[in-house]
């Protein structure tokens, strides 16, 4: 490993930290109380995060994702796609939306 390699790695880590700090200062990471489901970029449905519901998101291509909101956590328990990335992603967080690329479904936690 040469000197410039290390400088590059440090620059990348610094960039990541700065982006994180800016996002944290603007409050992008916390305080979300609303579950927003978008399909193909358009808002499909919204739910309050503090209410327990189960909802089947059905998309135009015949696919579906089963959204479960329970005890302040929103996650996908079932999906029609073969890869199940959204199911394995766990609960959606402010910083970490749950994404289903085949169905173009994005589940985000937002603030009112």
């Amino acid at each position: 490993m040469k000197k410039k390699d290390i400088i590059l790695l440090l620059l990348i880590i610094a960039a990541a930290l700065i982006v994180t700090a800016v996002l944290a200062l603007t409050g992008a990471f916390t305080g979300g109380d609303k579950v927003v489901v978008t399909v193909d970029g358009e808002v499909y449905k919204e739910f309050p995060l503090n209410e327990n519901v189960e909802y089947k998101i059905e998309t135009e291509n015949g696919g579906y994702n089963l959204l479960v909101i329970k005890d302040g956590a929103a996650y996908v328990t079932e999906a029609s796609c073969p890869d199940k990335v959204c199911v394995n992603a766990g609960a959606a967080q402010e910083i970490k939306p749950v994404v289903c690329a085949p169905n173009k479904v994005v589940i985000t936690i937002e603030k009112d």
Partner: protein, 177 residues
């Protein structure tokens, strides 16, 4: 054994062709392994990028043309075998951006294959994130950038360290072209 100029240039070309095909096959196998055993460390979107091991190695031991050829063969074959049109888009954006950045870093003096691979890993993730934002039409995904920056740097470093060893051995064994 001495060969005439004509013969030896033929044998060099044939060897170059055979090595390119070998590397293309190897990178598809790596793509398959990563499809079978996702090295995602529990974080969605994070990949080790085994196939990039082939690309980094080739950048130092073969021509740019041969490397690009292997890159595109891998992207298209892997998308056809294990993916869909969306995974093709993601791989193309990640692969091409990563290759471009790695070419630039390699040209700048002072980077070892490890640094080049780190830049490539980060560029790959940025390319994929950009496609995700466009395809899913959701700028919110950009919040994921810090995670992808760090993971791209780390996986790039791991791949670069392996590539560094392989490059040294290939060069010593005179298996470059």
């Amino acid at each position: 054994m001495r060969m005439s100029d004509n013969q030896s240039s033929h044998s060099v070309r044939t060897r170059g062709m055979a090595m390119t095909a070998l590397f293309a096959a190897l990178s598809i196998v790596f793509g398959y392994i990563e499809h079978l055993i996702p090295f995602d460390f529990g974080i969605p979107g994070v990949k080790l990028g085994l196939a990039n091991l082939v690309i980094v190695t080739m950048m130092y031991t073969f021509s740019k043309r041969q490397t690009l050829f292997v890159l595109f063969v891998r992207i298209f074959v892997c998308a056809m075998l294990f993916g869909n049109i969306y995974s093709l888009l993601y791989s193309l954006a990640g692969g091409v951006l990563s290759f471009g950045i790695m070419c630039v870093l390699k040209k700048i003096k002072g980077f070892s294959p490890i640094g080049v691979s780190i830049g490539g890993g980060v560029a790959h993730n940025i390319g994929q994130l950009a496609v995700a934002i466009i395809v899913l039409n959701s700028p919110n995904i950009a919040l994921y950038l810090p995670v992808l920056l760090i993971s791209g740097g780390l996986t790039g470093g791991v791949i670069g360290t392996c590539a560094n060893t392989i490059i040294n051995r290939l060069t010593k064994a005179d298996l470059t072209s």
